[in-house]
């Protein structure tokens, strides 16, 4: 092995230094925000990167590491995060942490209508320390250097007045005027001052009001106390709940263990929707793949025939559906299938009269037929391309031998072409089954899962597949979103897809053996 030159070593070290500097900056930022999980990941990742690029022993890892990082960041992390969310109660009304909710509730106040109110002036010294002077309508004054207001005599020696009698300084603290007033408001509004037994707080640009705190949280007993009524709220599944069942909003995120999973499995409504949606998902994926493969293979065999002229032209044209982004063609097809004004129904009505007005989007069967048709149109070019390639690999001699033995066209197809073709295409078919299984785009853009089904417990329409159903549960849930429940369904889908993949690997291996046999 050639020793790396001085220049390349220098470049390497400079790049590494830059990377480390960025990482250290990132660690500081993450640390100050309290995102310790990401911080740990970043730190470990950076150390690993340094080790790999500096150590000779880890040389082979240099080629694997980028792949591993992407695997972790884009595959493992989302899966782990989804599983984590599925064990919480994350949904509308439960998106904050308990600390955030307690902070917010403790800062809630009530302004009694006949409470004290004052005009305020603010003074600041060179260190940025603030002194506030309040004066009420009668002219009595209060001053606060810390968080407590005390009475202030008009002839207090610390006060400095200008010619008009206006106070311009308190000791070292100088009056803030004009723009300067606004620079301290955001700091002032967070302070809750005491005055005797009452609390005073900033309530406008230059005014203070008496406020009454509404809640206090008792850390030791883990209860939230309503300071006005004395009612105690205990946290129940992420919501502060009183003994009589009334609650304080907002709720917060807590871990609920396997509850979302048991809900899916035990709730009669959810379960029957799940079974119906799952059945249609299987039919949808299976029929899409079978039809598009049949069409693709048929066209490939046609195009493979040397007697056809202009094969290049046909092949190019037939790939067009594959080249147009699916979401554009789906919307175009949606327009064509429109029941009232669509071109397809116009043609059908010309041919068959009123019977030609097919309810493509309103009838479950027609809607399903339309979806499978469009998806077949979208995916047959892919099947055609892989079939074209696979057909080339079948030796022509076998067909010749079969012809001599008296096999007809159909027999040649079923006995020679298909078995040999499936060896190389079956794994791709299974892959495309798994892809169609989760083909959200077509279903969501064309029918959005509709038409509806009478008596469904969840938003599950006749053409909803698992993934679009999950989406509707996640974002059109009871009070907004139900991310946790949707995550649990996503995990279940993941398990199903993982099983299909496992079978795929087995099947591929089996086919390889067949191939060796041939």
């Amino acid at each position: 092995m050639k020793r790396p030159g001085l220049a390349s070593t220098l470049v390497k070290i400079v790049l590494l230094c830059l990377l480390d500097a960025v990482a250290v900056w990132g660690v500081i930022i993450l640390g100050s925000r309290g995102s310790y999980a990401l911080l740990g990941f970043l730190a470990v990742g950076t150390l690993l990167l340094n080790f790999v690029s500096l150590s000779k022993r880890a040389y082979p890892l240099r080629y694997l590491l980028p792949g591993l990082i992407f695997l972790f960041g884009m595959v493992v992390y989302p899966i782990v995060y989804t599983v984590y969310i599925s064990t919480t109660n994350t949904q509308t009304g439960h998106i904050l942490t308990k600390d955030q909710v307690v902070t917010q509730l403790e800062s809630r106040t009530y302004q009694p209508p006949d409470g004290l109110h004052f005009a305020s002036t603010v003074f600041q010294d060179e260190d940025g320390q603030l002194v506030v002077i309040l004066s009420d309508d009668a002219g009595a004054m209060l001053v606060a250097e810390e968080l407590e207001f005390l009475p202030l005599a008009a002839d207090d020696p610390r006060l400095e007045r200008d010619g008009e009698g206006r106070i311009v300084a308190v000791g070292d603290h100088v009056l803030l005027e004009g723009l300067a007033v606004f620079s301290v408001l955001s700091e002032l509004e967070t302070r809750r001052y005491t005055y005797g037994t009452t609390y005073l707080q900033l309530s406008g640009i230059e005014e203070f009001r008496e406020v009454v705190p509404l809640y206090a949280f008792d850390e030791g007993r883990n209860v939230l106390v309503d300071l006005r009524s004395g009612v105690e709220y205990t946290p129940v599944e992420g919501t502060f709940t009183a003994p009589d069942g009334s609650v304080v909003e907002p709720g917060f995120r807590v871990n609920v263990g396997a509850r979302n999973y048991t809900d899916i499995l035990s709730d009669e409504g959810i379960r029957s929707d799940f079974v119906r949606v799952f059945t249609w998902t299987i039919i949808w994926a299976l029929l899409s793949v079978v039809f598009s493969f049949a069409l693709g293979l048929g066209l490939a065999m046609l195009l493979n025939d040397p007697y056809i002229r202009g094969r290049f032209f046909y092949r190019s044209v037939l790939i067009v559906p594959y080249a147009i982004p699916a979401f554009i063609s789906a919307l175009v097809w949606l327009g064509l299938f429109n029941t009232e004004a669509g071109a397809i129904n116009r043609i059908l009505q010309d041919l068959f009269g009123a019977a030609g007005k097919v309810p493509w989007l309103q009838d479950p069967i027609w809607a399903k037929a339309m979806l499978i048709f469009v998806n077949t149109w979208l995916t047959f070019p892919y099947m055609m391309i892989i079939s074209l390639g696979a057909l080339q690999s079948i030796p022509g001699g076998i067909y010749e031998a079969a012809r001599i033995d008296g096999a007809n066209g159909f027999q040649r197809l079923t006995r020679i072409t298909l078995p040999l073709l499936l060896v190389s295409t079956a794994p791709l078919l299974i892959g495309s089954f798994a892809f169609t299984f989760n083909n959200f785009t077509v279903v969501f853009l064309m029918t959005g899962g509709r038409p509806p089904v009478l008596g469904a417990a969840t938003p599950a329409g006749a053409t909803d597949i698992l993934i679009s159903w999950t989406y509707r549960i996640a974002f059109q849930g009871v009070r907004g979103n139900q991310l946790a429940l949707a995550s649990a369904i996503a995990v279940i889908i993941f398990v199903i897809i993982a099983t299909i993949s496992a079978i795929n690997f087995r099947f591929t291996k089996a086919l390889e053996e067949v191939h060796r046999g041939v």
Partner: protein, 400 residues
């Protein structure tokens, strides 16, 4: 040595970050609000020295992004939004109430009602909108006063073969269906004694709502109302001059004018209810306004900007000039109501009810729209469909 250098660098960066404590307002606005708020922000900065950053975000994206950004402290101080987001954002703990009590009489009460939740106001409204009957004067010379007249006109001029529709409306689309259901007493959520909405009192199976649903069913059965009409179909028919009447909102006016349609705006026709009374349609009102983030670090300054700069007549008129949504500020509305279209929408709006703003509304839209689709597709009879939808909603919300 290297380690010390890195540590020093890090400290420097940290110091640099904490030094930026100068207050700065961030506002999330849609394409209409952005230019207007940028304009008035300049004046605010001159007086207060506070920099205002107006970030333009597509209206439909603001809600979702705010839900994600606000809890992490990355959200704006103020955001433009619709009143029916309030329930969700409040139960998420993301909004702070605004004290507008001193100026409450200056605003359209429907708009104030829309932004009120649990007895507090969570947004300063600037625009109110609702649907009315838009008609093509070339096909329908005089607008119908009653629904029976509307049906007769539809009967006379509808010619599906030729693609001419006397009356067309988006469906399934509960928003545009509600006037029919509400005219004789249908409602979404009943009210508690304190005026707040009661999610466990769903009025979709109320006799009044059933009346409207049966009417809808009969019109489809008779062939004078097309079933399954989306926005594109509706606009296609109207803009080509083949649509006689449509229930829609101010958002359609500009495009109708551009398409060269000789249009008019009229009140929604009245209904003769089963009990012999005359039912006046009560469409939904949608209110737009500006809300205050509960995680804002500059609430006092944000409130100042909101009340003294955004909630003014000039700002309301500037917003109206860009988007003809009747202003919620009454003094501004009085200045623009000389436009007959605005005046008619305003007249219909006096009977409008704000779309329910409680978070539970989310479970209503889907079930309700499904019910309309099932009726329209002639699969389920109207009474059954509405009962089913009501039960589905009550079960989803968790009411007994």
């Amino acid at each position: 040595m290297k380690r010390i250098t890195i540590a020093l660098l890090g400290l420097l960066l940290l110091a640099g970050l904490t030094a930026v404590a100068q207050p700065k307002l961030t506002i999330w606005a849609d394409d209409v609000g952005t230019p207007v708020f940028r304009d008035i922000a300049a004046g605010f900065t001159a007086v207060t020295g506070v920099e205002v950053e107006v970030v333009e975000i597509a209206f439909s994206d603001i809600r979702g992004q705010f839900n994600t950004a606000a809890p992490t402290g990355e959200g704006p101080d103020l955001l433009v939004g619709a009143h029916d987001w309030v329930g969700e954002l409040v139960v998420n703990g993301l909004l702070d109430p605004i004290d507008l009590s001193a100026r409450i009489d200056e605003f359209n009460p429907v708009a104030i009602d829309g932004f009120s939740y649990g007895g507090l106001l969570y947004g300063v409204p600037y625009g109110v909108e609702n649907v009315a009957l838009l008609y093509n004067k070339d096909l329908v010379p005089t607008p119908p006063a009653t629904w029976d007249e509307l049906m007769q006109i539809a009967r006379d001029i509808t010619d599906v073969e030729a693609g001419v529709y006397g009356y067309i409306v988006q469906n399934p689309d509960p928003f545009h269906w509600f006037p029919m259901l509400s005219a004789c007493g249908g409602y979404i959520f009943g009210k508690n004694e304190d005026g707040s909405l009661n999610p466990c009192d769903v009025g979709l199976n109320d006799p009044g709502a059933v009346f409207g649903a049966i009417l809808f069913d009969e019109m489809i059965e008779e062939g004078i109302l097309a079933n399954g009409v989306d926005w594109d179909t509706m606009t296609g028919v109207m803009f080509s001059g083949n649509g006689g009447m449509v229930i829609s909102g101010p958002w359609l006016i500009g495009s109708l004018r551009d398409a060269g349609i000789n249009y008019g705006v009229a009140p929604i026709p009245s209904f003769s209810c089963d009990d012999g009374t005359v039912g006046i349609a009560r469409p939904f009102a949608g209110v737009r306004g500006v809300m205050l983030n509960s995680f804002s670090k500059n609430k006092t300054i944000a409130t100042e900007f909101l009340l003294k700069y955004i909630a003014t007549e000039e700002t309301a008129l500037e917003l109206f000039a860009l988007d003809p949504r009747p202003p919620a500020l009454l003094s501004a509305f009085d200045q623009v109501k000389s436009d007959p279209d605005v005046a008619t929408f305003g007249e219909v709006g006096q009977n409008a009810i704000p779309m329910p703003n409680i978070a539970e509304m989310s479970s209503v839209w889907g079930a309700w729209s499904d019910a309309q689709a099932l009726i329209g597709n002639q699969e389920t009879d109207p009474v059954m469909a509405l009962i089913q939808a009501t039960n589905q909603i009550l079960e989803a919300i968790g009411c007994e």
